[in-house]
């Protein structure tokens, strides 16, 4: 470990001493104590992406609220569409709470789809925190819509969507639009949702979605100027595991409500199950923090408590909206529920989705 060289460690020690002096360090003997240790937070993505930013936002707060104030370093292990770093964690991490993993939808999707590069098993791990996200689907006013209530007008239109790839997070809109029976041409090869938004603004595509913070910052002005029409939000999961309206967009219907407007019935059946599995893995359970499965409960609890406690921190509150996109990070029962729903798929549904992707989009998972 690189304990001898750390500059931040001095800061951490200072904080620890300060905390002791204030008498809030708590009884340390029976519980987990990371004093003088370094926690490596493996992020299977390169520096600068969404997951990296998310981890770097959380790392100093985690250091501040974990017992003993360990140094928390973000270790980027990019490659293989995030499977490489995750495999590394699965093979190497010890159950001592000193190596944790941050995953994203891009880590969950290959697992759910049965990508041959995946050598990790979510069920082997314990969850410390889940960080949900949401998004809003919107269209071009040139299609004749005035608002979410006109969604049925999309039925016979030729829709074009800028996609990052059929196995990327854009699998969720792909499955969602199929479920709604829209005629959508997915044009692949886009580098990110921002890239897709640019294509929308250029008029090359007429349906798009953005994650909440990007929607508020970049699409809301378009909506106000009459250049975009919001349709629905993907929605969020409540503790019962039901899709409900996204509290960030209380005036917009959720995907499920929009489906009901369109068909008159609630969505169900194997196609909905497939959509729901990937939706959960991509939005409500998009980013999660894991510890190896044999990790003692007191260490897992210490992490959960730290993630819970940091929410009151002024540093958290100052930037949480920009980094997390208006969604609080969750722990405990809800996190566990999201974890289970976002990493579970029946073999039949997996076969159905991969079969559809292969038949209609020529996707092979690189066997």
């Amino acid at each position: 470990m690189n304990t001898n060289f750390n500059i931040t460690r001095r800061v951490a020690l200072g904080l620890a001493v300060g905390a002791m002096a204030l008498g809030v360090a708590g009884p340390a003997a029976a519980e987990a104590n990371f004093s003088g240790k370094t926690v490596e937070w493996i992020i299977p993505f390169s520096a600068g992406g969404g997951s990296d930013t998310w981890a770097r936002f959380n790392a100093p707060l985690l250091s501040k609220y974990l017992p003993g104030n360990p140094v928390v370093v973000v270790v980027n292990e990019p490659g293989g569409g995030s499977t490489k770093g995750t495999n590394l964690f699965a093979a190497r991490a010890k159950p001592d709470g000193l190596t944790i993993l941050g995953t994203s939808g891009s880590t969950q999707f290959p697992y759910l789809l049965g990508d041959p590069r995946v050598r990790y098993e979510y069920k082997d791990w314990k969850i410390a925190m889940a960080s949900p996200t949401g998004g809003v689907v919107y269209t071009s006013p040139s299609l004749g819509l005035n608002g979410p209530e006109d969604i049925a007008m999309l039925k016979d239109k030729n829709l074009v969507y800028a996609s990052q790839g059929a196995t990327s997070l854009d699998l969720v809109p792909l499955l969602g639009f199929r479920l709604m029976d829209f005629d959508v041409q997915h044009v692949f090869g886009f580098k990110g949702r921002g890239d897709g938004r640019l294509a929308f603004e250029r008029g090359e595509v007429n349906i798009d979605y953005q994650t909440s913070s990007a929607y508020l910052k970049s699409v809301q002005p378009l909506v106000d100027a009459g250049q975009a029409v919001p349709l629905f939000s993907w929605g969020v999961l409540n503790e019962a595991g039901e899709v409900v309206r996204d509290p960030t967009f209380p005036d917009l219907p959720s995907f499920v409500e929009a489906y009901e407007t369109l068909t008159g019935a609630a969505p169900s059946g194997p196609e909905y199950d497939a959509y729901f599995a990937f939706f959960t893995a991509g939005f409500p359970a998009q980013k999660m923090v894991f510890l190896p499965g044999e990790t003692p409960d007191e260490i897992v609890d210490a992490y959960q408590k730290a993630f819970e406690d940091m929410k009151a921190d002024p540093d958290y509150q100052a930037n949480a909206d920009t980094v997390l996109g208006a969604y609080g990070q969750v722990t405990g029962v809800l996190a566990q529920a999201l974890f289970e729903k976002g990493t579970t798929i029946t073999p039949e549904i997996r076969a159905q989705v991969t079969g559809m992707l292969a038949a209609e989009y020529g996707v092979k998972l690189g066997e």
Binding site: E40, A47, V75, N76, G80, D195, E204, S218, D315, G366
Partner: protein, 664 residues
């Protein structure tokens, strides 16, 4: 707007802000000097410190870093012929010959002043343009972006070297390498041969270092002498300024090119230096000696690569779309500071934009000033016998290479491409043409497919497409008339090159060309297994490459003595017949040794063995020197790795036993 501009300046001009900017500039200069390390590594170094920093100070620091990397990366390009980062590969072509002629001072001062001018130009463009850039950026749709990637590819015409067939074949090989990994249209994985490493394609830094740095190191290691003979720097500090002043319009044109390429999202700036270089070659009329040490070949890329950063900030701040890897990290930094990019950057947050603008301008001045001050001490390095410098360079390049995916596979890829690079250099295959192909392959394929999807073939009628198409044709026309290679101008093609009149002597280059044909056949064969959308690009490219080789082969086999297709540095290079020239493979063998040792005991332990052994056996250094240099290098690498919080690639040893960092 003017008020905001001025208040942003006064906010920046406090001791604290300037001090933070100085930190950024300092880190940027250091990162730039080290070959292979670029903006991504530099920004990752600073990211952990961003937390809780004040906005203006933090932005000043980040911009300071981004702005000066293309300034200081000139050092190793000019002094050693090893590109300091991907932004100054083209600078090598004329900068290094100038240094060998004893005009390093002139080349460096011209480069730094060009960098500064380019950087300030970029800042000025950003100032005025940012307010109106939105509609202009939006006017570049997939169709126009496809045409721009064709325009970039048209630079191959000027960089194709003596044999056009060879140049185009090299470009096709670059395009094939660039198409390894997921196909943009279908996501199916091409040419991965069951290797997980190839799923994502080969990273740019590996291609750049493998083709440009390794062959130089291998070459320099063959001669047991210092890089510069005699006076390392020469005189000519003011000559450099005068050179720049005389070519100020060239410098400004290239700065403009740099800005535009940077500003258009999705094009990526990694070939901006080659495009600027190509532009200089196409347009300069007065006694050009490009490739042999023409100062304009230094001014052009150096003006463009700094200006590009200003341009690249436009899409990053306005749309949140990073134009390059470094800009992606910068964007992450902005979000950490609580700044969400978007339209508000020219509205409510205009002051942030303008503090970025001022930081950019000031950092460029700071960077150029510091580089000028450091030029004399740094250039002393070239008086050290290269075999003493070599282990540092090898270790640094390997260190830079495994930043890509942080695995042993990076080093293996580096070595393999290094072998290819050494052979291409030997047989006169133009590596710039290959690089341009490699960089633009994904763009050309993706945007072509998207343009067809969005507009079908009618995209060809769009006015923007027609304009860029005409520019491309002009570029090809002027390019073909002004072709250059590493040895200077090659047009008109005269078949009077020095040659050795024997078929046996030509055999190595014939075998190499056949091997390249084999490579293209493998690509062709692989492409046949894919769906139409996944196969069409590699299929067409490999067919074109094979046609070029079908033209080249008979020329190589039957061409008369001195035919322009013939080239083998081992037959006709400057070193042939000289005393004390080592084996072509000596340098590569050492690098292979380090890679092999890494596979056994992990990178850091391998370094601790490799370094003293090299100095002792190869450089014949004294015991004390070996010890001191090993400690220095090991300490430096350790500090850098710690600051970047990275684990070194592991070997078999680490699979069997537990070791503490940095050995694990």
């Amino acid at each position: 707007m003017v008020d905001t501009l001025l208040s942003a300046l006064s906010a920046l001009l406090t001791f604290q802000h300037l001090a933070y900017m100085f930190v950024g500039v300092g880190v940027g200069l250091m990162i730039g000097v080290i070959p292979g390390l670029g903006g991504i590594a530099g920004l990752s170094l600073l990211m952990p410190f961003l937390y809780g920093m004040e906005e203006t100070a933090a932005l000043a620091m980040l911009i300071g870093l981004v702005a000066v990397i293309p300034t200081s990366d000139t050092f190793s390009s000019v002094l050693m012929g090893i590109p300091g980062s991907s932004a100054s590969q083209a600078t090598v072509l004329d900068g290094f010959p100038l240094a060998r002629e004893g005009q390093a001072a002139r080349a460096l001062s011209a480069a730094f002043i060009s960098s500064m001018a380019g950087g300030i130009f970029g800042a000025v463009v950003l100032t005025g343009f940012v307010v109106i850039a939105r509609p202009i950026i939006l006017s570049f749709a997939s169709a126009e972006l496809f045409m721009l990637s064709l325009f970039g590819l048209s630079m191959v015409a000027v960089l194709a070297g003596r044999s056009l067939a060879k140049g185009l074949a090299a470009c096709c090989i670059g395009l094939v390498i660039g198409s390894i990994g997921g196909a943009p249209a279908t996501g199916e994985f091409r040419m991965i041969f069951g290797l997980e490493y190839l799923y994502d394609g080969i990273p740019l830094v590996i291609v750049g270092l493998g083709f440009f740095a390794i062959p130089e190191i291998a070459d320099l290691l063959r001669k047991n002498s210092a890089i510069a003979s005699g006076n390392a720097l020469g005189s000519g500090w003011f000559q450099g300024f005068r050179d720049w002043w005389k070519n100020i319009w060239l410098s400004m044109r290239c700065a403009g090119i740099g800005c535009i390429i940077g500003a258009i999202p999705g094009l990526g700036g990694s070939v901006v230096d080659w495009i600027a270089y190509g532009h200089a070659v196409q347009t300069v009329k007065k006694d050009p000696k490009f490739g042999k040490g023409d100062i304009r070949g230094v001014i052009a890329p150096e003006s463009a690569n700094n200006a590009m950063q200003g341009g690249a900030l436009l899409p990053t701040m306005l749309f949140g779309i990073p134009g390059s890897g470094a800009m992606a990290v910068f964007l992450g930094g902005m979000v950490l500071l609580g700044i969400q990019p978007g339209p508000s950057m020219v509205g409510a947050d205009l002051n942030i934009t303008y503090s970025v603008v001022w930081s950019l301008a000031l950092a460029n001045v700071m960077g150029a000033g510091i580089c000028l001050a450091l030029a004399i001490p740094i250039s002393r390095l070239t008086q050290i016998p290269f075999q003493r410098l070599a282990p540092f360079m090898i270790v640094l390049i390997c260190f830079a290479a495994f930043q890509a995916t942080r695995s042993l596979a990076d080093l293996v890829a580096l070595l393999s491409l290094g072998v290819l690079g050494v052979l291409m250099k030997r047989f006169g295959w133009p590596r710039p043409a290959l690089l341009i192909g490699y960089v633009l392959a994904p763009q050309a394929e993706t945007y072509f497919y998207q343009a067809l999807q969005f507009n079908s073939w009618s995209f060809l009628g769009r006015p923007g497409v027609i304009i860029i198409g005409l520019m491309t044709l002009a570029s090809v026309f002027f390019g073909l008339r002004n072709r250059v290679d590493e040895h200077g101008h090659v047009v008109p093609n005269e078949d009077d090159a020095p040659d050795v009149p024997s078929f046996k002597a030509h055999l190595p280059q014939i075998v190499f060309a056949a091997a390249m044909a084999g490579l293209l056949l493998v690509a062709l064969n692989d492409s046949l297994r894919h769906d139409f959308l996944g196969q069409i690009f590699p299929l067409s490219v490999s067919v074109v490459g094979l046609v070029m080789l079908a033209i080249l082969m008979p020329q190589l086999v039957r061409g008369k003595i001195g035919h322009h297709a013939h080239f083998d540095a081992e037959l006709t290079g400057d070193h042939v017949g000289q005393e004390g020239i080592g084996n072509l493979w000596g340098g590569l063998a050492w690098i292979a040794g380090l890679v092999g040792l890494t596979a056994l005991i992990g990178f850091y332990a391998a370094l601790l063995v490799f370094f003293p052994v090299f100095l002792w056996v190869r450089a014949k250094a004294g015991l004390l020197a070996v010890a001191l240099m090993t400690i220095g290098c090991a300490g430096f690498i350790l500090t850098l790795a710690w600051a970047l919080s990275l684990n070194f690639p592991t070997g078999l040893l680490q699979d069997s036993i537990e070791l503490p960092w940095p050995f694990r």
